[in-house]
């Protein structure tokens, strides 16, 4: 059976290689100092989708991302690795969205894309670390969800079997399609970009990129290749209520951001007695340093 798979992906600042200039004076993220990358766990999700596509001929993998115009890179990156097409959801109205407003916008876009069998997303993004968007999208679409997936073991007869990686072990869970799965970083790494696909899609651009670009190439290539226009949707395209999008749709308010620098201010000397060690363990658990 062929599957229609949607992969949710996010462009994030690469917080894994944080240097000393990663934060600005005012405590906000200095995006200029951090390269924008494909959220790592979303790549794990994409790999699961591509594997299903291989196992089920005729399946399609569609990427959906929300972000500024430059997030079109995420769609191209997905195409280079084997996705079939993608949609960039971009609009000033989406700016400042928290997880609720984001999942609303994504769910509206998914409705617009139409019928699907499976939605895959990374467990969480490395910038916000909330792990909320995937589950919220499922709720808004009224479909079941399986989180923390490490491996999609099978899809057959309208059912899916997933191996979940949990804190204290693994669990095999089943569910009925259509359904949403969030994928853990412990799942298989995504395959590399492919030489043929990179040549095929390197000039793929969104309409706004084409307008902004002074390069003749897209025009030249357009004449020969129809596949090079990436889909770009605004809030109006997906019929989203602007009030529920972006800052206005976000109940989360950021009161203050602090750049916390850990410093050793005091020290304690313990002897080797069990009592003292136990007391330290209790103290560390109580103040949430460990445990």
């Amino acid at each position: 059976m062929s599957l229609k798979i949607i992969v949710l992906a996010k462009q994030v600042p690469d917080t894994r290689n944080v240097g000393k200039d990663a934060m600005k004076e005012d405590g906000t993220v200095n995006r200029a100092a951090l390269p924008a990358i494909f959220n790592p766990e979303d790549l794990n999700a994409l790999e699961q989708a591509l594997r299903l596509k291989e196992q089920h001929p005729g399946s399609t993998v569609t990427l959906l991302t929300m972000g500024p115009p430059r997030a079109a890179d995420i769609i191209r990156e997905g195409l280079f690795r084997g996705a079939d097409n993608g949609y960039l959801l971009t609009d000033r109205a989406f700016a400042g969205a928290d997880t609720l407003a984001t999942s609303y916008a994504l769910s509206m876009a998914i409705r617009k894309i139409g019928a699907f069998d499976l939605i895959l997303s990374g467990r969480q993004a490395i910038d916000g670390d909330t792990a909320q968007v995937g589950p919220q999208v499922a709720e808004k679409l009224s479909i079941p969800q399986i989180t923390y997936a490490e491996d999609i073991q099978s899809v057959a007869n309208g059912r899916i079997t997933v191996k979940r990686r949990l804190e204290r072990g693994v669990e095999i869970a089943g569910g009925k399609l259509p359904l949403l799965v969030t994928v853990n970083g412990s799942a298989a790494a995504c395959r590399p970009r492919n030489a043929r696909l990179i040549q095929k899609y390197k000039y793929a651009q969104t309409p706004s990129e084409k307008q902004a670009s002074a390069d003749d190439y897209p025009l030249l290539s357009d004449a020969r290749r129809a596949c090079l226009t990436l889909n770009e949707w605004s809030a109006a395209h997906v019929g989203a209520d602007v009030e529920q999008c972006g800052l206005s749709g976000s109940p989360t308010k950021v009161k203050k951001i602090e750049s916390v620098v850990f410093q050793a201010k005091e020290n304690k000397t313990l002897d080797a007695s069990d009592a003292q060690i136990e007391a330290l363990v209790v103290e560390l658990i109580t103040n949430h340093t460990i445990g």
Binding site: P192, N194, A195, R196, I198, Q199, K200, K202, R224, R225
Partner: protein, 569 residues
């Protein structure tokens, strides 16, 4: 995050050589395939951009996957289990990543699912791969066997095997036997016709077969019973899926340990004739070997690159007598020489690859249509140059890879002798490069012809006639004087008309040609990118000059009667 393409600007420099315009327009048949294949380029800039993007993927996989596995693969190596080779786990992952990225069959035409890349781009990937892991470079570079299968196989064979290579099937060339190493005319593996099954049957033993348990083999075998020389040998294709060839053992080698070197037994193995009978050695294997020699030249260059980087990093880091050792003249001179030999190696590597590209593409076009007069002249010129530069480049670069990895250990001092640093692996890996695919001594035999007939001299004059930026006038004049010395030396040796004397001096003459040509090539590089190459140009010309004078002194003072002293009583 390391990308072996992006972190090495000299690769981009060589990729963007002016001659590429001609190479790409020939290779792409004036960009006509864009109508059929959505990944074919629409013009020159598009093609070059594609090469860069694909080399970037290759550089990323080599830097991120192959390089981190190198040490472990070297320690574990492949195993033989039930007559089959099992690669080290790191090797398996390397092959998987390169295949998934669509990098196999890089140079094959698109109609067989290849990328139709010129040799220059393919060789560049080998160059990078060898910097990471010379053993893996072999497995990668053996896909070049597909080139021979494409050139000499029939259309049905091309359609049968080439798409498999592009999908990741590995290849090997089964040539040598216990009694047929450098002398392949002595090959004994027996091929018998099996008309009932429309195939041939192979029986016998092959030895020292790199990647001998590959999916598709090209096999040199004796098809003409009763013959004793090269004219009784034919080339066959053996498909592992048909069975009949077993791996008896793999060699325990000094280096390139990740690459299995196999002893194979053929028991009635089914095989198919590739091309015509009797042309196996004299035509096909010679073509195969020329491709393989270029591959080894790339491998040696990649090893020199790795040696340079290791030496430089260590010399900057290591402090003795209160300062970094790179500040001592004895050390920085060694590093400058490594760098100069590395840059010179890379220059002759890509110069050769370009020559090979032009003539091979024209030969391929000749199968489709008649060449015009200009193209015919071009084919003739570049074929001759490729023929001359292939053995010269292999001889020079592989010897330099040995010298550079040797010096790299020396810079590491006692630590270099320990297993703790990559330099000892580089040193062991480099040692095979000047032996296999024809020893340096055999390259000299191939190259001396072009010394005596003037191919190199003509090319030196061609380089001399180029107009370069005036800052390079001094170096150019010095090279022009070396050309004069070279010409006189060649005449003086040729004038003896004594073959033994000529053989005796031939390595010296070939080396002179190498020093001068590589000096000119560095000058041309410095003309395009002055800052990037002027140091190596200066250092290499000074080095080459001293070498040529040394050789001049030896040859001038050589008395033919003293040959006797060189023969052991």
């Amino acid at each position: 995050m390391s990308n072996f393409y992006l972190d090495n600007p000299s690769l981009k420099h060589h990729l963007h050589h002016p001659l590429m315009k001609r190479i790409v327009e020939l290779k792409e048949r004036n960009y006509t395939e864009a109508a059929t294949y959505d990944y074919a380029p629409v013009d020159f800039a598009d093609a070059m951009d594609s090469y860069e993007k694909v080399l970037e993927i290759a550089g990323e996989i080599i830097g991120e996957v192959v390089a981190p596995h190198a040490e472990e693969v070297d320690a574990q190596g492949p195993k033989v289990v039930n007559n089959r080779v099992e690669y080290a786990p790191g090797t398996v992952e390397n092959l998987k990543a390169t295949t998934q990225a669509g990098l196999m069959g890089l140079s094959m035409p698109r109609r067989y699912n290849g990328l139709n890349f010129p040799m220059v781009a393919f060789i560049m990937a080998s160059d990078m791969a060898a910097r990471a892991d010379a053993g893996f470079c072999n497995l990668w570079a053996l896909q070049d066997c597909a080139e021979t299968l494409y050139e000499f196989g029939d259309e049905a064979q091309r359609q049968q095997y080439l798409p498999r290579v592009c999908a990741g099937a590995t290849m090997s060339m089964d040539l040598t036997e216990p009694d047929a190493g450098s002398d392949l005319q002595a090959v004994m593996l027996k091929a018998t016709e099996d008309p009932e099954n429309g195939c041939w049957r192979l029986n016998g033993v092959k030895r020292f077969i790199t990647n001998g348990d590959s999916d598709i083999h090209l096999v040199l075998a004796r098809s003409e019973e009763g013959t004793k020389d090269g004219r009784g040998l034919s080339m066959f294709i053996y498909d592992k899926r048909d069975g009949g060839v077993n791996v008896r053992r793999i060699e325990n080698k000094l280096g390139i340990k990740g690459s299995p070197t196999c002893e194979l037994t053929y028991k009635n193995a089914k095989a198919y004739l590739c091309g015509s009978r009797r042309l196996g050695l004299i035509r096909y294997v010679m073509a195969l070997m020329n491709g393989a020699r270029l591959g080894i030249t790339a491998q040696a260059t990649g090893l020199s690159e790795a040696a340079y980087r290791e030496a430089l990093a260590y010399a900057k880091d290591r402090k003795q007598f209160g300062k970094a050792i790179i500040e001592f003249p004895a050390v920085y001179e060694m590093i400058a020489n490594i760098k100069a030999k590395l840059d010179a190696s890379r220059s002759i590597l890509y110069e050769t690859a370009r020559f090979v590209d032009i003539y091979k593409i024209l030969e391929d076009i000749e199968k489709e249509r008649k060449l015009d007069e200009v193209e015919k002249a071009e084919l003739k010129k570049y074929k001759k140059l490729a023929d001359a530069f292939t053995p010269l480049g292999k001889a020079m670069n592989t010897e330099y890879a040995n010298q550079n990895t040797y010096d790299c250990i020396q810079i590491h001092g006692g630590s270099g002798f320990m297993k703790d640093y990559p330099c000892e692996r580089l040193y062991r890996d480099a040692r095979i490069t000047n032996i296999y695919e024809g020893t340096t001594q055999l390259q000299v035999i191939a190259a001396i012809r072009h010394v005596l007939t003037g191919t190199y001299l003509l090319q030196m004059r061609e380089y001399q006639s180029e107009t370069l930026r005036p800052e390079l006038d001094g170096l150019k004049a010095r090279l022009a004087r070396l050309v004069e010395i070279y010409e006189q030396l060649v005449l003086s040796v040729a004038d003896t008309k004594d073959n033994e004397c000529i053989d005796f001096q031939s390595r010296r003459l070939v080396e002179c040609a190498g020093h001068i040509i590589m000096g000119y090539l560095l000058l041309l590089d410095a003309d395009r990118h002055y800052e990037a190459f002027i140091r190596s140009a200066e250092v290499y010309v000074s080095y080459g000059e001293a070498e040529v004078h040394k050789i001049q002194h030896f040859i001038r003072n050589f008395n033919p009667d003293s040959l006797e002293f060189y023969k052991q009583a």
